[in-house]
């Protein structure tokens, strides 16, 4: 897999920086995100079950 060349399809969308990719799998941060995402999902589930 190589980097997209200018004007190729994959050249235009935003791509994550190395820092973004790091935080995506950082255990401590992801435990926190697990809690936050669950809270958001519970809000949606509660709104749907009204």
């Amino acid at each position: 897999m190589t980097n997209p060349k200018p004007y190729e399809q994959g050249y235009f969308p935003p791509v994550p920086t190395s820092a973004t990719r790091f935080w995506r799998t950082n255990l401590l941060w992801q435990v926190w995100r697990l809690l936050r995402i669950n809270m958001k999902m519970v809000r949606v589930i509660r709104a749907s079950h009204r």
Binding site: M1, Y11, F12, R24, R33, L34, M41, I45
Partner: protein
Amino acid sequence: MARLLILGAGVAGHTAASFAQRWLGKKHEVVVVSPNSMYNWIPSNIWVGVGRMKPEKVVVELAPIYRKAGIDFRQARCLSIHPEGGESGGQPYVTVECTDPARRGEREEIAYDYLVNATGPKLNFGATEGLGPEGNSLSVCTYGHAEAAARAFEESIQRMERGEHQEIVIGTGHGMCTCQGAAFEYLFNVEQELRRRGVRDKATLHWLSNEYEAGDFGMGGMHLKRGGYVTHSKVFTESLLAERGVNWHLRAHTTAVEPHKVHYETLDGENHELPFDFTMLIPPFAGVGLQAYDRKGAEITERLFNPGGFMWVDGDYQAKPFEQWEASDWPRTYQNPHYPNIFAAGIAFAPPHPVSKPMKSVNGTPIFPTPPRTGMPSAMIGKAVVASIRDMLNRGATEPTHTASMAEMGAACVASAGTGLFNGTAASMTVYPIVPDFKKYPEYGRDLNLTFGELGLAGHWIKYILHVMFLYKARQRFGWSMIPE
């Protein structure tokens, strides 16, 4: 004592049956008819399809669960509905054909007082020439299909390990497919598995989809607040495709699948082809093809089902242009307008129209996603329908008492982008409501405080937790009814 008959034991049917037995079991009889002996937790099939999960981990045998719960389970395929009864009497009934190996092919009639049609989809591989496991492409729609896909994928990896290059095409096998999410998950699980096996540089991956823009998923996509902007899911989806080095081909109707070549037409009327060594293409869905007859035996299928085989319910089916669609078009009670003791749940109900804007190519070929109604909405509809029937039977209600409109409910969805306890990722998403309501939310049709998305390891953990939790619920273990749909 009344008899509630539920056709189907998938997400909608099994949820309906479980709650029906809990709420009605002592006073009334609950009968489930399903051609399958197993309940399949379909969202995990993508892990079976890349060989990272055994098929037996995504299924539960239905007969022991129903026996323990006191539900009468018939392993059979429903053939026809007789909502007015027959010449011998006015008791409504269905005819079924047994699929249980011990009685295969035997037919019987099952009378009912209330009927819930939760038959799910027919996987309509026949809509595209050469599509499907019996043709030239693979599928992950059933655990058996996913197992076959895993075998083919392993062969493809072995070729790469021998130095061969492989073209991999994953996506939709027809211009009017739904369930893009499953194909999308499979694409990224394949990509991650190739990296894990050290052969990513030997493969070119292609995403082939009937969506107008990436990230539509049959819901017209969704807008999210992120990084100080309100951004469409197209941006995040293309970002992931670019990050993982996947080429994408959108607005595509697959016209044929030859042994090593996919042919497709795009909205601009052009015809294209993609060579492949390995391809998994989702089929379009149709109704399962039930027939209906009146008391005299005359066919009345069109009174119960639309031309696609999906059951008419309480939606507004008047044809109107996209600009005039409203949230109120969507069904709320799922009761058939002609027969008030018949309901539909899950994929079996006829949606009033798509959610994504209908598009036609310059050649007149419709190319747009049809509306999703799997997972959380399916289960919620199944539960609401049974709650209404409970109130009609036990409390004398004359109208359905519970609603589950897809324009009034949200959905939580987790799309796997690769498995692994420490290096897996998944997109965790919520939308509220599923069907945009531009009257209530004029800007984007949805509540932006309840609509969000995020990619990360936590999403993978959630997807795995859901896998464990919903199979636990399906087994009706202690406290199952406390787990939300």
